[in-house]
Symmetry: C3
Subunit: 273 residues, 3 copies
């Protein structure tokens, strides 16, 4: 796990070279942002969710991103068949279980997805990850305000249980594939005041995973890029500028990001077991 | 009804303190903007529209916003059951009957909603409100260009008939719960050239209503905040800037808004009966 | 075909005078952008896709834009009945067959649409247009990277076969109604790095077609406006600004566009037969 920042930079170079097609079955609220962030990072987004075509779309894609933000019965069905197809052809599947603790419908859906599909990376906030881990949580909608105790343990255990990479976003971000746990300190508070920054992070992770040998690095590259770009955009804000301008500059910073940006700004520690 | 501006400011403080969860069953065109505006004002948005989960979402929310912009049979059903649940647990329901005069499907839907759900606030343009009031109108899509005659009378009568607060947006905005009529003079013409400013106003009203004892003040706080933020954003436009930059600065101004902004910029009269 | 730039300018003046209602049955990813671009150009957008109301919406509209970006069975049905109604009442129908080569579902849908509806203008990238022309293509999602050879021939032949105006977007844009072929050289590369610029171009074409006697000019006016506005926005970018700011300035430039902007910046040739 040495040279993590260099490895992240290498993935970014690969994404820009290969322009991977990233298939999204995602929510209606932030899908435009997700498409734009994939373009900004050098990938090619496609949003397709009808059961009549998702298998074909998966077949020409390099990764599949499943986001549960605005579930309905139709897209659940599409998620399952697209996820199975992605497993079959060997492209990574990334899950963002948005608001999974909020309703029975979401909990049942995530159970069905976990039973049917092998995920390369699962990314959520602490509340969502705890729900997956079977910990009882009181979810206040899609946000999480639970404490940090046990965060690293939960990530590691769930990664082992599901044989996947777990990314937990929050004040600090945590990435683990069951052994080491990487804690990332990038990302300003203002990112939580713009809708879709979480979904965009998942899309970035999808783009990186599509060219990664090691999904831990893919997860780190995505979550850290959003954090650093957020910090850079925040520093650029002028007087009277707030979330509107921040969102614009965030997208600028993502498009301007290069491998040196990781090295100059990346801030992480590898936690002891 | 004294100190209206101070009461609006108090509601804004309360929203920022309580961060109420505002459940939206809304249209696909502007849902991203609506989520961002709720975050900018200090609330927490959730967009969920599937019949399998809307009652649970309502149950952990502080207000329900129903927007008819892109109706289909599925979301109509969700609107009815979510609205009934909201009434049952006592959280305010806000209706934005977008383009209700345009089609039979919309008129039938609004009739079903009015028969099933008690609304705290209904917000529309003159054409939409006239349709609700049973006045024959020729709707040109979702916009209204009818004259102002009788505006105040229509607002007061419809508020009494439906036992609700009526907000009519236009060059001037009108708010009434059946007795006094408050006429608000804030808001630049350019607001009509950005899609979703009407929907965002409804989302703001939802956030304010969630913490209001008096829904008239909730309605005023929402519509006036959008008007004032629009004026401030308009003044900030540089040479060659137009709707693109206006939209960004509008969101900045909404996030920067505080109780003093109401007092410095609010412009209204209370009309005589 | 003299004075093409003046004719484009005349159409722009007409759109701003008449404020035509442009009905969209379009994709969920970019519908907000499409609504905003129609407003910026002086038109009035309406997005409605339920089978229960599309015929009524068409009946009060001046053009119908059908965009296949996020197909599902419900909106395919709505596209067919809305398209037939538009033909019946004589308003132009514009088709954007997004990603048509990607799946059987899309190819079958476009076949159904072409069999049921007479289109005034069909706009796609080379890959999409080749699919319509029955040329075998390997589509990489919704983008096209095929060569330019035969572009003009394909446009002219397909226009004749389908009795429509064909617009092919790419590095150069091509417009033909079967005889002359107009090649437009406006538009910076960066337009391909923002999602929805293609969909927005189709919406612009819809607005222009709604007031045009000659759909070739309608197609040219739309595609050239996006190209020129892109060039102007690109020139305005400051250091560290990229796709985020570009998108904002693009919308500014579209709203600031006037008939002189065509004359000062339009760059085209009429290709020999």
């Amino acid at each position: 796990m040495n040279n993590i920042l260099e490895q992240c930079g290498d993935l970014l170079i690969k994404v820009r070279e290969k322009q991977p097609l990233i298939h999204h079955i995602t929510n209606y609220v932030t899908m435009n942002d997700c498409a734009n962030v994939v373009l900004a990072i050098g990938g090619s987004p496609i949003m397709a969710m009808d059961k009549n075509e998702v298998e074909e779309i998966v077949s020409c894609s390099s990764a599949l991103v499943i986001n549960m933000g605005t579930l309905n019965e139709n897209n659940v069905h599409s998620m399952v068949i697209a996820g199975k197809k992605a497993n079959e052809i060997g492209i990574p599947v990334i899950l963002d279980p948005v608001g999974v603790g909020a309703t029975n419908f979401r909990r049942q859906t995530v159970r069905k997805l976990l039973d049917s599909v092998q995920f390369a990376i699962i990314k959520g906030n602490m509340s969502e990850i705890k729900t997956l881990a079977g910990v009882n949580v009181t979810s206040k909608g899609v946000d999480s305000n639970t404490d940090d105790i046990g965060k690293e343990l939960i990530a590691r255990n769930l990664a082992n249980e599901l044989n996947t990479t777990i990314v937990i976003t929050g004040k600090d971000d945590i990435v683990s594939r069951g052994k080491e746990v990487v804690v990332i300190h990038n990302g300003p508070e203002l990112l939580t005041k713009v809708t879709g920054t979480g979904c965009m992070t998942t899309s970035l992770i999808g783009a990186f995973a599509s060219v990664a040998d090691d999904f831990t690095i893919g997860g780190i590259a995505g979550v850290m890029l959003m954090g650093i770009a957020g910090e850079l955009a925040y520093k650029m804000l002028l007087k009277d500028e707030n979330v509107g301008s921040f969102r614009v500059k965030l997208m600028d910073c993502i498009a301007e990001f290069n491998e040196q940006t990781y090295i100059d700004n990346g801030n992480y520690v590898i936690a002891e077991k």
